[in-house]
Subunit: 395 residues, 2 copies
């Protein structure tokens, strides 16, 4: 087990009607003024935004608003938010939405607290924010896990770069998680969320690190529960228990719990960020589903025992010890079939990626052949291009 | 799934040599003066106390010391600690030890921050501390989980009462967890720790609350990993991976993770607190082992499907759906045999409890027949006395 630091300070208020307490919770931070940050029209249309404002009004909390966050949140809106915070004296950022809104809110809070720094420099990892504004989230989508994570992914539309950075300042002070707020999430977005959640855990599971059987068993618990919750949410969008397990899995999958004692690199996420960076209309979860099985088939032989453990404990397969690769391939097939069954793509072609872009994707992913992706099998440019091609040509 | 609040702000520094960074970590809090709080002689003899002091010296941090914490930490030493903090201007409490030292440190920090309140009133739940001193722990024993929990259990030797209280102020700001520091823990104390850790999770598992399959699966992961780690630690006390899994399980079992969405009452702990309150020489884990199987046999029929789930997922039993009670009893027998195999008692007689004290224990546990213990089966005085008697007469 590798040494690790575990710190998940975000206070989670989980369950029915918890969003009605947002005013009281924010009042605990005694803010001068709040920025309410949200996405397109759904938070407004559903009435959630009104509920949030009423709750703040009840506590006499002043606020300004900034909507318009798009999936794959973009730098220009972040900069607009920072300017608004500075001009209005905002000292608290409240995200009302899913991972994109929360990531945008994190970047705004970091940028506004460090106005001397170009906020894009955080994404470029040129520097780390040393301070941030207080911030919280009312979660409306079970997927990215940003509500409890220390990561933030922003796209710069000028350069086409989609960059993630992780730091302590990216932790939300609180997250309000009412599963009922996800009843209206479409089947496609629900499936994308299930993929993203499971993938946050699966990716950590396949990072190097030995004898972490407690972490492994917790990861297996998260993966299996997410698969079950995904099926149940799709069968009945108003199944509270399914939505609740999905939402809680979203937070636990990405808050650090499932990486304790293991090294940490979300490899398939790196592949996917390039895809949805170049094709912004592609949902992150769908991109992950399209890529994962090809990555898995390319790398599993580098650590066959890890993969047979996965096959046995997640997919309940009996291990064929004479031909363990058969067990592993059966597990990958099962996962691929699961993706198909919930309406997810399992190849890049289905997502509209063009074959002539594959080399460019591999170049971007390796930062023009200047980086490799670590793991049980280290992946260089040729490997990465091979995986993109496999995924393009997969079923 | 019931609504819940989840908040585990304690920052954990886990792994080899992490205790050498204690000075730098404490310096981050810029304390005026630190109280180093520890137990008997083991922290001194092992050289750990010297390492801690040297690390503080390197950062020019001033400190005073107070040792002498006993298992089942007592109120008089807490009061002495509070006086020391007030007279010396201490604003940071550093616990070096296991759960008893950490609980004593928590109570000192709460008492010193609220000098107008009698600290015992917190234990009596007459009031809740609204503020506390900053505090951290260097953990030397995998058992109580106090390093990440919000609970604190103190004994008042004048009244014989052993009382626990839970509140946000009881969370440590940080915990340093180096599994190597537990290599010298005796087989008996190691086994007691394994019981205590598993029991923190098992007790939550059997609290009412439905459709928490993510929480359930995580709980099963913690229980099974603890059983494995317990066996491995006893087979080889210097097995780093076993000690590491045990230590991390200790923190996760009691930080709130395994109760999300379920009601919360550690019933068998209530039984045991009376036993080790009356017989202070009895180790908490040993008392739990002696009581649990009798409690289990008394209550399981109140929710047979919960118990068959436990039997299947923790003890890998095939459920006999015609006679599910056979499956449950087989699982309880397996747990009893596990306790025996690691040298734990499975009845109160073996612990030296006198038969004539059983009624007094039941009276104390019900606060003189003024409270019942909730759960799938509510337990009143007669039930509780029956369980004490079953446990007295068990194998």
């Amino acid at each position: 087990m590798l040494n690790f630091v575990y710190h998940t300070p975000t206070k989670v208020y989980f369950g029915k009607d918890e969003e009605l307490n947002v005013g009281k919770i924010v009042a605990g931070f005694a803010p001068k003024k709040v920025l309410i940050h949200y996405g397109s029209q759904s938070a407004r249309k559903s009435g959630l935004l009104d509920k949030v404002k009423k709750s703040l009004d009840n506590e006499n909390i002043k606020y300004v608003e900034l909507g318009g966050v798009k999936p794959n949140p973009e730098l220009p809106l972040v900069k607009k938010g920072i300017e608004l915070c500075l001009s209005e004296g905002v000292d608290f950022v409240l995200a009302v939405g899913g991972g994109s809104v929360i990531d945008s809110a994190k970047d705004i809070a970091n940028g506004a607290a460090n106005p001397e720094t170009d906020v894009w420099d955080f994404s470029l990892k040129k520097c780390v924010p040393g301070k941030t504004l207080k911030k919280g989230a009312v979660l409306t989508l079970s997927a990215a896990g940003s509500e409890m994570s220390d990561s933030c992914v922003i796209t710069n539309p000028e350069t086409g770069e989609k960059m993630g950075y992780s730091c302590a300042c990216n932790r939300m002070d609180f997250a309000i998680e009412n599963p009922e707020l996800t009843y209206t999430v479409s089947p496609y977005q629900t499936a994308c969320g299930a993929v993203d959640i499971a993938m946050h855990t699966i990716e950590r599971y396949f990072c190097p690190g030995e004898a972490t059987y407690l972490t492994d068993a917790i990861a297996e618990a998260v993966i299996k529960s997410t698969i079950k919750a995904g099926n149940d949410c799709l069968a009945d969008p108003n199944n509270y228990e399914a939505r609740a397990n999905m939402m809680w899995a979203s937070s636990l999958a990405h808050n650090g719990l499932t990486q304790c004692g293991r090294s940490y690199m979300l490899t398939v996420h790196q592949f996917e960020h390039e895809v949805s960076g170049m094709y912004p209309e592609i949902a992150h979860g769908a991109g992950l589903a399209a890529l994962w099985c090809s990555w898995a088939r390319y790398v599993y032989s580098a650590n066959i025992s890890r993969w047979t453990q996965y096959a046995a404990n997640v997919w309940n397969l009996d291990v064929d010890y004479e031909h363990p690769e058969r067990t592993v391939e059966a597990a990958i097939d099962m996962q691929e079939n699961y993706y198909k069954s919930i309406g997810m793509p399992t190849n890049l072609k289905a997502l509209g990626v063009k074959e002539e872009d594959l080399e460019k994707l591999a170049l971007n992913c390796t930062r023009n052949k200047t980086r490799e992706l670590p793991g049980y099998k280290t992946l260089g440019y040729d490997d990465i291009l091979s995986i993109y091609k496999m995924s393009y040509n997969a079923d």
